[in-house]
């Protein structure tokens, strides 16, 4: 142990009497000028002396221990630093990570320093100033935390330099405060240029570490930054120690027994490891959580959370890959559930969700790995299946799918039954690209639904034309209202008792600029399906009431109402608002409904009809005798007129049974006190026959064809006197 000799070798010669200072270190500031000193200290530290310094001044096991601690602590610190950099959360979260990095970094650097000092035999440490020791740790922690916060604040050079400098200065401050905390017997001397050099080195390497964190590739970031920070710490420590010297007048005073020193070392190492370990855990928990949530997000983007089947996006991805992959041929099955919407509406959406889950489960269990099955949304599923056998095999598979989906579902102790329709398009015959294939599978699906649901339909070229013409009719229909292509015409209603007209039925006409007059039979079902019947019906009601308001006061107007319109929810309000707006008395309005409307057996419909009747509006049941002609409907609903279907009148000349039906209906109406209208009267013989049957209104070509407002008979002129009509 040659404490004195080393002091002389390392520091003593460079020190003047003037800057020999006590451990408080004030003397350092007032040291000799640097420029003059640099060459001399460089000359003093030769290779031989450095070797001597490491081998003899420091006890190797403790030095190695401190080095290991330094590397491990720095690794954890840098990982936390990276988390602070990468976090996309709020500023507060980033600062918290910076603080944790500061705590870990500060503790590990301090412990590194402390253990290394214990191994630094020449220092002859007698004890520590507790306040200063604690302060050195606090400075290190806070300094590093602030520096990390600076370094991670922006990507600018300024942030990098300030942060790096801060890190270097924090390490240096810790080191020199720690040194100041040592109670060394006798006076301590410092070699100022070496001190400055150590700080400059430390700061420079720390800036390099900050640069590595900012600019290097992902893989290199952490190893390089860790290496740099370890280098900065080591460089500072050993360079700094070279600037430190104690006079040899007090060799090895103090109670530094080897056992006691080891105990202190052990304690410090343990404490440091606990802090580092906690920093590590913090980082690990966060990384794992982030990895998990990233995985979950990626999964969410491609998986339908309800059925856990691939979603629409994933389906399109997969379909594209199949087309790129020169697949030998595959088919797309477009699956749509029948009656699902009704069940979803009546049994509630949670029930509907469970039902969809079950459907997804059945599809998965049926198809397994043999097919790619996705939920495109709502009650739409799509299946991509390899084409192994014939088209018939494919159809068999599709039918099996329908069979399995159509089996009853027992959910929450309730039974639900749905069905499915499937459209098949085969690649490449029915589509060389994803979009065409999907479109054609949908066209085939539409065909399957149109043919009566629960069916499988394979795409055929002819379907495109049908689908296109339907599509173009749909587009035209959507524009028709705005383009004012609808017209209303009126067919007069004749009352044989008064020998005069007593009203007219309003009939809708669509005059398309290219198609000409489109038959209601062609566009009304489409309008109902598209829901367009509601605005169209409103327009019809408004126009009819407005026109009828100008007619003489005994003239009523009959307006047809579709079931879809009645169930739209706002129909009641529409009717009363329209009457109020047009000024037509309710008694002069007759709403013609069909039996389909009553089949819904809806309380709301019953209430609405009752309200209409209470207000004086007439309710007529159209096309009576053809459909169910349920007597219950007549009995249950507030109907006050039935219209005998034109088919019976048409056959009445030649067919006795048709005549009997007309007689039966009029008798029935008589018993139930209902008014009757006979439709489709074209000949005098028919007119004579129906008049024999009883009191009724007559409608037909014989008494007037449907015509525009201007073509109505003179009786409809405002305030016109009653005119007899020659039949």
């Amino acid at each position: 142990m040659g404490g004195c000799a080393q002091t002389e070798q390392l520091g003593g010669c460079a020190q003047t009497e003037k800057n020999r200072s006590p451990i408080t270190g004030q003397g350092i500031a007032g040291g000799p000028s640097m420029p003059g000193m640099l060459p001399s200290w460089l000359a003093k530290i030769g290779t031989r002396q450095m070797i001597h310094f490491f081998v003899h001044d420091h006890e190797l096991p403790l030095v190695l221990l401190s080095l290991v601690l330094c590397v491990v602590g720095t690794l954890v610190t840098v990982r936390l630093w990276r988390i602070a950099r990468d976090t996309t959360d709020a500023l507060r979260t980033r600062l918290e990570w910076c603080f944790l990095a500061g705590v870990t970094g500060g503790a590990s650097i301090w412990a590194t320093h402390f253990i290394a000092m214990l191994g630094h035999q020449h220092a002859g440490v007698a004890g520590f100033d507790p306040a200063l020791t604690i302060l050195s740790v606090v400075v290190a922690i806070l300094g590093l935390a602030v520096s990390f916060a600076l370094a991670t604040s922006t990507a600018s050079h300024l942030a990098l330099v300030l942060g790096g400098t801060g890190i270097g200065l924090s390490i240096a401050a810790m080191h020199y405060m720690g040194m100041a905390a040592y109670e060394v017997p006798g006076e301590v001397t410092w070699n100022l240029p070496i001190v400055v050099l150590s700080i400059v080195l430390c700061v420079a390497i720390s800036i390099a570490a900050a640069a590595a964190m900012r600019d290097l590739k992902k893989r290199l970031k952490i190893p390089v930054a860790v290496g740099a920070l370890v280098a900065a710490t080591v460089a500072l420590h050993f360079t700094g120690m070279a600037a430190f010297s104690v006079p040899h007048t007090h060799p090895m005073a103090g109670p530094q027994g080897s056992d006691q020193r080891d105990a202190i070392a052990l304690g410090v190492v343990l404490c440091a490891l606990i802090v580092i370990g906690m920093g590590f855990c913090g980082g690990a928990i966060s990384s794992r959580g982030r990895a998990r949530s990233e995985r979950a997000l990626r999964r969410q983007a491609l998986i339908d959370p309800l059925t856990e089947l691939p979603n629409r996006r994933k389906f399109h991805q997969h379909l594209k890959e199949r087309f790129h992959g020169q697949d030998k041929g595959f088919a797309m099955l477009s699956v749509d559930l029948d009656r699902f919407k009704t069940i979803n509406d009546t049994m509630g959406h949670p029930f509907g969700d469970k039902l969809l889950q079950r459907v997804g489960g059945r599809l998965k269990s049926l198809l397994g790995d043999q097919a790619f099955c996705a939920r495109l949304g709502g009650d739409e599923f799509a299946i991509l299946i390899d084409r192994q056998g014939s088209l018939e095999d494919l159809k068999t598979t599709a039918k099996l799918i329908i069979e399995i989906i159509s089996r009853s579902y027992v959910i929450n102790a309730q039974v639900a039954d749905i069905g499915a329709s499937i459209g098949i398009a085969v690649a490449p015959e029915h589509g060389h690209d994803p979009d065409t294939l999907v479109q054609n599978a949908d066209i085939a699906l539409y065909g399957a639904k149109d043919a009566g649901r629960g069916r499988v339909c394979v795409f055929e070229d002819g379907m495109v034309t049908a689908a296109q013409s339907r599509k173009s009719l749909e587009i035209d229909l959507r524009r028709a209202l705005a383009r004012k292509e609808f017209e209303l015409c009126f067919q007069p209603l004749y009352d044989p008792q008064s020998s005069d007209y007593n009203g007219a039925e309003a009939l809708l006409r669509w005059r398309h600029h290219e198609r000409g007059v489109v038959s209601p039979a062609d566009f009304i079902p489409l309008a109902e399906e598209l829901g367009l019947i509601v605005p169209i019906g409103e327009w019809v009601l408004e126009e009819a009431c407005r026109e009828a308001a100008s007619w003489p006061s005994h003239m009523r107007v009959a307006v047809n109402v579709s079931a879809v319109q009645m169930m739209s929810g706002k129909f009641r309000k529409t009717v009363f608002d329209t009457l109020a707006r047009t000024g037509l008395p309710p008694e002069r309005l007759e709403l013609e409904i069909t039996e389909t409307t009553l089949l819904c057996d809806d309380v709301a419909i019953f209430d609405m009809l009752t309200a209409f009747r209470a207000a004086g509006i007439s309710i007529a049941l159209d096309d009576f005798g053809t459909g169910y002609s349920s007597l219950t409907s007549l009995h249950r609903y507030p109907i006050n007129r039935i219209k005998i279907d034109r088919s019976f009148i048409g056959r009445s000349d030649s067919d006795e049974s048709a005549r009997n039906i007309v007689r039966a209906i009029t008798n029935l109406a008589d018993v139930l006190s209902l008014n009757v209208t006979a439709e489709g009267i074209e000949r005098t013989s028919q007119s004579d026959f129906v008049q024999q049957c009883g009191r009724l209104s007559i409608q037909g070509y014989l008494y007037g064809r449907p015509g525009s407002i201007g073509e109505l008979p003179a009786s409809f002129q405002p305030e016109s006197p009653k005119n007899g009509i020659a039949a």
């Binding site: 489960g361 059945r362 399995i404 009853s408 027992v410 102790a413």
Partner: protein, 197 residues
């Protein structure tokens, strides 16, 4: 102790494949073995009757358990024409003693009266499920040589419903009982038991 509502489900189906006796036997065995294992766990009891490729199965137990078992059956493509006939809530189980009792026209040893009964069962089950279930119960108790207690007095849990002699017969059976009940009543061969006495 209040008994929870026991849900009873009756369905009818046919075997998808052609009625080769060996295949159907294997299928029936598979259904029954799996059902007995799963049902005992789920507290589901019932009966499976097989008549020349047509199945009638009754499942009874807590709603969620019956739902789960039936859903699994719905996913099985070996059934075809699967038709849910009845799903009702009841006070008590009708087949409380059986994890899954089994009747089959293929199994030897059915007394003639049961053969006639089984032949008419598919139609009966659809037109009058309650009566079909009552008859199934009677046939089952008759086969096991125990008197059938009234449904109303029937315990809901897995207590053995038979008299002591019948229990002895069960204890002598080769297959181990589930929850103290035989899980393959037909494997006990009560007919043989009877003929030997």
């Amino acid at each position: 102790m209040m008994s929870p509502n026991i849900y009873r489900l009756l369905y009818k189906s046919r075997a998808r494949f052609d009625c080769d006796a060996a295949d159907v036997d294997a299928f029936v065995d598979d259904i029954v073995t799996k059902a007995q294992k799963a049902n005992a766990k789920r507290n589901v009891t019932g009966v499976l009757a097989h008549m020349d490729g047509t199945f009638i199965q009754v499942l009874e137990g807590p709603a969620d358990a019956v739902e789960a078992v039936f859903e699994r059956i719905c996913r099985d493509t070996r059934h075809t024409d699967l038709q849910l006939v009845e799903f009702t809530a009841n006070e008590a189980r009708s087949f409380g003693g059986w994890a899954m009792a089994q009747f089959s026209t293929l199994s030897a040893g059915h007394p003639p009266i049961q053969k006639d009964f089984l032949a008419s069962l598919p139609e009966q089950a659809v037109s009058d499920p309650d009566e079909a279930i009552r008859q199934l119960r009677e046939a089952l108790f008759e086969r096991e040589a125990r008197p059938a207690p009234h449904t109303s007095a029937f315990p809901h849990d897995f207590k053995h419903p038979g008299p002591p002699e019948a229990r002895d017969a069960v204890a002598a059976a080769p297959s181990p009982p589930i929850n103290g009940v035989p899980h393959r009543p037909d494997a006990i061969a009560p007919d043989r038991h009877r003929s030997s006495s």
